[in-house]
Symmetry: C2
Subunit: 353 residues, 2 copies
């Protein structure tokens, strides 16, 4: 049994309180400055208004002002903000966490330096910590195909807890593992985090076919466009695996839960797919963002901007070839330069032999 | 321009006549003994009654009695029957094909010897040929995520033409390549054929979640079971890649169009998925087959019986470990032994490190 403090009370952070609390752990959800109403609601009635579910006994909710105290008494601290909040979360956690605590990161994404060097988010969080403290924190993350609400309603879900230290990830896995929340562990930390960040890019592309059909008035035709989506998925998988390898991860991480599995679930729907569908309809991405999906968190688009931009820098520096990652780089031109949806098929699958 | 004779006039064989004829090739569809009505219909009105589309100019239809003559004058012969007809097709083609002709196989599946040794279907077809003639035939196949009707209505489709000889597959690819039918070529013949056969097994498993939801009365709930499907997909990809390697193919073939792409498209729907959904509802497979899907061609179930059975033999002989291919072997117990749908999650993802 452990005391788990969660910074962020979004749907994924809250969903994970279900298996955690059912194993007898105490879970303390801490709202960010964006979560005031969520915390109010949970404090009053137990209901998480976005998730649409009542949290378990053993789950408590706190406003941000109580964060320091709640984090101080925790055995495990989870970072449950979205990728846009990672710098903010880094500062908070760096000032509140204590030596010996274990951090478990749910946030997915990457950051890049000016020269195109990419970093996984746990390392970004770490950069805000005093080096001496950082050494005394255990760094870990959860990866794998998890639609939050499905975890919360006890549907079978298979994930990987990854980190630097096998003993620590095994300890954390034991806190969360139930008969529906199936947990594996891995020390391929960078590989799993890269896969998890990357899959969101290709989920955006997974929406294109739906938009193309809508534009053509063929949404309800007998024959839709699964072939298109499958080809994009296959090229996405090639690039995801290659990115994992480039980041120093194990290529086979791209085959499993943290790669192809996660990309599959993300392609099944959600905000990134919806944004991609608007582009498929022929709407320039800037208009999608300004008009149709204003203020909607698009993790996939964020990942395309960071990773696609970094690959441009890396190509300029000769670190990758001009023909490498053609799908990611095409997606970058769509979200950053309003490029029309003219899929560069002929540049795909260049490694066949 | 070439003259292409197609043995079998099912939906995939006929769909491929669209890009082929649009490139100026003459396409002659030859019905099997099961296709009499289809051929009648095409001869009378041009309409393929199952596909629901009218064939192009340049596409002709012939009853089986004319097969010998039609095949004799062809440059390229396609084997377009389903996997249940491969032995029949082998005998036909062995007696009709001539030295110098190129064979292009669309049929997907495998066959196994008594001892569990697996064979790709082009090799099964070949076994019916006089060895001298077999040497003078060019052996090739088409692989990749292709829902037939989508090809026929000109939706973007990406496939791989594979075979032993690079020049031959390039020649064949040029006959079919259009602005919507995107063709790559590969000489990893066994790898691509194994992936194409294997993906159908996992498509059967892709139906389980839908059936489980139906059984629980949760089909229209806010939260469905994509996490379940994604985990099955990820384990499927691991096993597909491993099977490709075991058969002597290139492991990376499992990442691309012929592996994960094809598995993706097949998981989106169709007969195998439907059969899996019945099992998800709790109906023993024998009952699904006898009552709900009587006389329906289930390529996935056929593949599970052949490959799952072969893996049992290989495990008995110590060629693979008792814990290898846990999903395939579980599926085998479902279709051969009416095993209940108790997914062996704990046996999955054993290679994480």
């Amino acid at each position: 049994m452990a005391r788990i403090a969660v910074l962020g009370s979004g749907i994924m952070a809250t969903a994970l309180s279900f298996p955690a609390s059912e194993n007898g752990n105490e879970v303390d959800l801490i709202g960010t400055f964006l979560d005031r109403e969520i915390i109010d609601s949970i404090q009053r009635t137990g209901l998480h208004p976005v998730l649409g579910l009542t949290v378990n006994e053993g789950v408590s909710a706190y406003q941000l002002e109580e964060a320091e105290e709640v984090i101080a008494r925790a055995d495990v601290v989870m970072c449950g903000v979205n990728s846009f909040g990672v710098e903010w979360a880094g500062k908070q956690l760096a000032s509140m966490m204590r030596p010996g605590q274990k951090l478990l990161v749910v946030t997915k994404g990457m950051r890049a330096d000016e020269d195109g060097t990419l970093h996984i988010l746990p390392d970004v969080l770490r950069s805000y910590f005093d080096p001496g403290l950082a050494e005394q924190i255990s760094w870990n993350a959860i990866v794998g195909p998890s639609i939050a609400g499905e975890v919360a309603v006890h549907h079978d879900t298979c994930v990987v807890f990854c980190g630097h230290d096998k003993e620590d990830v095994d300890y954390l896995a034991d806190l969360f593992r139930t008969d529906y929340y199936h947990v594996w562990t891995s020390t391929d930390f960078v590989g799993h985090e890269t896969g998890a960040a990357t899959k969101n890019m290709y989920a955006f592309a997974a929406g294109f076919a739906q938009g193309l059909l809508r534009k053509a008035g063929k949404e309800n035709d007998q024959y839709v466009m699964y072939n298109y989506g499958a080809a994009v998925f296959a090229q996405g998988q090639k690039e995801l695996r290659s990115l994992i390898t480039m980041m120093g991860g194990k290529p086979e991480t791209g085959d499993g839960l943290g790669g192809v599995g996660d990309m599959f679930v993300t392609s099944m729907g959600g905000r990134n797919v919806k944004a991609g569908a608007f582009v498929g309809e022929g709407i320039p991405f800037s208009e999608v963002q300004d008009r149709y999906m204003k203020e909607v968190t698009l993790e996939g688009v964020a990942a395309i901007k960071v990773i696609g931009g970094a690959l441009e820098r890396q190509a300029e520096r000769g670190l990758i070839g001009p023909e490498d990652y053609p799908l990611c780089r095409f997606l970058y031109s769509v979200v950053e330069k309003d490029a029309p949806l003219d899929m560069p098929w002929e540049r795909f699958f260049q490694d066949l032999a």
